[in-house]
Amino acid sequence: MVPLNYYLILSALLFAIGVVGVLINRNAIVVFMSIEIMLNAVNLSLIAFSQFRGSPVGQVIVFLVMAVAAAEAAVGLAIILVIHRSRESINVDEVNLMKW
Amino acid sequence: MAAFILISSLKVLVVFSVFMLIVAYLSYVERRVVARFQTRIGPNRVGPAGLLQPIADAIKLLTKEEVFPANANRIMFVLAPILSLIPALLIMSVIPFGDSLTLFGQRIDLIISDLNVGILFVFAVTSLGVYGIVMAGWSSNSKYSLLGALRSSAQMISYEVSYGLSIIGVLMMAGTLNLMEIVKSQANLFDWYIFKQPLGFLIFSVCGIAETNRAPFDLPEAETELVAGYHTEYSSMKFGMFFMAEYAHMLNVSAIVTTLFLGGWQGPWLPPVVWFLLKVSVFLFGYIWLRATLPRFRYDQLMSFGWKFLLPLALLNIFATGIFMYL
């Protein structure tokens, strides 16, 4: 029997790994993948809570989060494609034309 | 617990051996049938009536030289055919072959894993089949392979959408996602969903053929197009695994069509497993017939057919079924 605590700790750990991924990577696609890791961590804790309460509401929220994550991944990758087309590089440090 | 593990291992062993045997002999049957369609005979020299041909093919493939392209990523190159074969084998674990037997006081359901979301598991594993192709194309470090792989995977993911939507009519009528229950709800001949959902059956079969990259949708891997598509650079047993994966997918699609539309193992007089195999063979014969008869689709025709024709038709099917069930 796995207590709820364990799922929540795992979720926090995965979220932290996702945050580290966003902060230290320069490849825009890997940044996107780290955002997906963060979304998954949150999904895990939502489902853990939903199952331990016996209410399907958490799972419905996860369903909607998955749909939104798919839409966001599609639009984000399209933006990355366009950036690559115009400056031949997807290093996030170089997309800094608006920096003061 | 121990009885459960023993029975499951036995089921897995039996299903796996029968499955691999059918896959091997499917290549032989296909060559003979296509030959008869083309008024020639087909392989009949190796063994009585050519029955040892698959074994000869296997020995040939095993003894060929292993070719690794220069600058290819070794790990992914070897992993790709494995990733292509495993989903094909996994799907067999949720197909019901027959009613339950009672041996030694234990009730054995003739299905390896009776999931409550059985049909969704089939779609999940089908979606994972795309990765073998994508990895094969990318890791071969060759333009032909990459283009063939991108085309093939684009085709597969496009037809997956209509694949899933076309059976929603069946699920609405059956009221369950459990494959055993769907088969049990087709008890009489005229309860079979092929009569209640003819459009769903047609769309599902067409999408199944497109999913397995078989003629007439086999542009990405036909010999006369793009050299050989994503398995250009593969030799010996790795090519053999792609080959087996294709036949295994064919067998899977036939098994799922049988379960959802043709009544699974239901039928009078003969034992259920025999009925199941009979229905699967009928559908496989249809597959081979299509390959022998129809010309290939061009790639843009293929994609516009999948998105602009089959998808609206599948949605219309769901709409019509909903209205029909409400009235």
């Binding site: 580290v20 199952q51 369903f63 599609a74 290093n91 | -």
Partner: protein
């Protein structure tokens, strides 16, 4: 028994997500992310949420990651073309701040559960993970968000097609 499976899965998810963020080759990162998503799906099955577990494989591992792989292959990136950090010590600061974040989250969990309603006594209820329960809740209580998400997906598709067109 479930505890052993959980620990193995947790280890696999954490290891593969660490490997996602530390690889130089983006295709290998994408493949490790597929492993992470797969182990997440098995965790959902362990919790009894079979519908969402299968959906995770179909949507995340089967569609979104294929999209990622397509884009990575179309961009044809070379390995390791990203130079050293722009600011010194940026990575060390990132690790430090994330460590603070993780400690904060765990502390918030501990404090939040310390006044009764403790999760240690919570019991798993797998019946609420079946497709019929989720569907009932989705189409009755959450119908409005469901319709809005479908419009959102339509807008996303249109946006992508407009963004990527080379000429109008």
């Amino acid at each position: 028994m479930t505890l052993t499976i959980f620990l193995i899965l947790a280890l696999v998810s954490v290891l593969s997500s660490i490997l996602v963020i530390t690889q130089k080759n983006s295709v290998i990162s994408a493949l490790y992310l597929i492993v992470t998503l797969g182990s997440q799906a098995v965790l959902y099955f362990l919790l009894g949420a079979t519908f969402i577990g299968v959906l995770q494989i179909i949507v995340y591992a089967g569609a979104i990651m294929v999209l990622f792989l397509f884009v990575i292959m179309l961009l044809n990136l070379k390995r390791d073309e990203f130079g050293p950090d722009q600011k010194k010590g940026q990575r060390v600061l990132a690790f430090l701040f994330t460590l603070f974040l993780a400690v904060e989250i765990l502390a918030a969990l501990k404090i939040g559960f310390s006044d009764g309603g403790t999760p240690a006594g919570a019991v798993l209820n797998p019946a609420s993970g079946s497709p019929s329960e989720v569907a009932r809740s989705l189409f009755i209580d959450f119908l409005y968000p469901f319709e809005i998400v479908s419009i959102l997906l339509l807008v996303a598709i249109l946006g992508v097609v407009v963004l990527v067109k080379k000429r109008f």
